[in-house]
Point group: C2
Chain length 387, copies 2
């Protein structure tokens, strides 16, 4: 397998983009990535795009063809991949494998979701199709309810508190204030979170990530050729993907995600690093409890101590292991199919020293963690600053 | 890149399977492939699954997680890929790339669609999401109408006749009679086709492929290890994928598919063969005119002569280049996401000499051709019988 590096990244503004269409968004993100990489579109050999459900959100399947056409990239192959909210991470992984295999040289990994063109209740119903239709959605479960079950059990087993969960939201909203592309530039306090409307006890509105439109792109090339295009190539040193039962009742535990544990084990092994080597991470904080479980499952602390290290500030900017410097899904926004690529964009900018006011000084190794549904799929990537 | 071979294949019965669920179908096809390969499920490293729109057909996204769970394969990675009716072909290509890269050894390429659990008009509407929503579906176009435009232009430019199109249906229904898994075991005559209900002039009901439930699997390994598992490994010698404008009005021509021409060029180049070397092919006959255009675009005859060589019997069993010995989409059925894999199943069985009464004697090289929508995506694979 060839080594693979990122040479350029691009992001649209994240938010409720009522005046921007699906096709405009992907072209905008792609154009920024091409400009960042300093290449010509004609040099691109193939594209992978992560998207959860354009079929339900904008009534359009077969988006890969639509995207390469509107991006002016015909007739290159374009492949859509989907694993609910992990779709972007999967697109990055497939692009990585394609370059590593030698079948393509310059490959775009993209992610996109246009979620606000339908009514909010329709969006919630569409998102619920990422859960088991016969065992979960059938009885009325939606994602806040499913993650609330995990939160309750985590509180019961480890003494995690609602205040600790709120601190995840406070931190990520703070970080988002330094990210020009974030959906929210709005600080929140612990009290704001605790007093926000109850969605599914113990989760309040400000424990939940929002509904977001957005697109993200990263351009991958063989590492040996990366220096032709940039002085700061970002090596994709490890990739791991794993599956678990789609429905909660079939899982081994409610207080962590087996798919995360398996995926990060594979990624650490491939990259030849351990959790302690990682300087910063973008993790899948679709709900505040999800970040707490993630930092445990990824090995940044012992199981059950995710709430505690959040409270102690270890995951804040300037802390031991800064988590979600971009603002995360919570503050930056969560256009589901775009999120996995947007995480890689943040890590690439951080390792290149281009993260502005949210820069983690001297960062050499970063990690992304992208989850589908309630944990049926997880994908982890590890990035190293090129020497 | 490592060479890649198929060591086992499996297919469900195709048809209106009202007593079989989505999850049962994929397990059935997978179990048959595993049995055919003579491996244990525990040996499988990863899975790719082609599916057009479980989101619309059974209101379930994130099917990759559901499938590996129900197949007893947790926690291996599973990735859904989608390009409308070319989803299966894309799954085969991604599985090929994964094995070729060295990241995985034993990989399942699967395809599945459960189309009959909703009303027929809902199915037609769901299928129309593979066309451009803003330029085609918006004005009421569905696929019979879109292919009818291509048929009319082909008739105008090349003198192709409705009788020649009908002969595609007659041939493919005949072939399907020898395929135990086919949806139809029913001969039709040219008169039957010409007298069947008009759907979108000049296409009649029997010019159209049906709505079908079904699943298909193929198991891929590095070619150098294939002999451990089977005496008749089938080498995947070439793969090609290409894109074109999703909507007809942006295409260079109406009488052929640029995506097919580009995809087969890449596949022939990789395999080191030409059209004349191919012994048989499974092509994407979603409508009879589509088979006529495909055999031209793939190089089996000159542009415009597809109708003529069909009339002359060159594409029949025993003819110069047998096309759709399985019965094709027309006779075997067209569970959209499964079709690309089912095509590979047929070629693998033919090259292994296991195709029973539809066997093409001495077949050494086979080709599959899978199209998404009206030609926004095409993927071609070339297979060789292992020496």
């Amino acid at each position: 397998m060839r080594k693979v590096a990122i040479i350029g990244v691009g992001l649209t503004k994240f938010g409720e983009l009522w005046d921007v269409s699906f096709r405009q968004m992907i072209v905008e993100a792609g154009a920024r990535a091409i400009e960042d990489a300093g290449i010509d579109g004609k040099q691109i050999d193939a594209m992978y795009v992560g998207n959860m459900s354009a079929g339900q959100f904008i009534h359009q399947e077969h988006i890969a063809s639509l995207i390469v056409d509107h991006a002016g990239l015909l007739p290159i192959p374009c492949t859509r991949v989907e694993a609910a909210c992990a779709s972007g991470g999967l697109a990055l992984r497939q692009a990585f494998i394609a370059v590593a295999s030698g079948i393509h040289d310059i490959v775009v990994a993209a992610g996109i979701e246009k979620m606000t063109d339908i009514l909010a209740e329709q969006t919630t119903e569409a998102l619920a199709t990422a859960a088991d239709q016969e065992w979960e959605a059938f009885v009325g479960s939606t994602f806040p309810g499913i993650y609330a079950l995990m939160a309750r059990r985590h509180m019961h087993e480890y003494g995690t508190t609602e205040e600790q969960m709120a601190m995840v939201a406070v931190k990520n909203h703070h970080n988002a204030c330094f990210n020009p592309c974030a959906q929210y530039h709005m600080e929140v306090t612990i009290e704001d979170v605790l007093k926000s409307a109850l969605v599914a006890s113990p989760l309040k509105l400000l424990d939940c990530s929002p509904i977001t439109d957005g697109a993200a792109c990263a351009i991958l090339v063989p590492a040996e050729k990366a220096r032709r295009y940039t002085d700061t190539p970002i090596l994709i040193a490890g990739t791991g993907q794993a599956s678990d039962a789609i429905s909660l009742h079939d899982r081994q535990t409610l207080t962590g995600l087996r798919a995360t544990v398996e995926a990060v084990r594979a990624a650490y092994k491939m990259a030849g690093v351990e959790a302690r080597d990682v300087d910063l991470a973008e993790v899948h904080d679709c709900f505040t409890i999800a970040e707490i479980m993630a930092i445990e499952d990824l090995g940044f602390c012992k199981k059950g101590e995710g709430g505690k290290i959040t409270e102690q500030g270890e995951t804040a900017l300037g802390g031991r292991i800064p988590i979600n410097t971009s603002g995360g899904l919570k503050g930056k926004g969560h256009p589901v199919g775009a999120t996995g690529i947007a995480q890689a964009v943040e890590i690439a900018q951080q390792l290149s020293g281009e993260a502005g006011k949210r820069q983690v000084e001297g960062a050499q190794i970063g990690l992304t963690h992208n989850v589908g549904g309630s944990g049926g799929t997880a994908v982890v990537h590890i990035f190293k600053r090129g020497d």
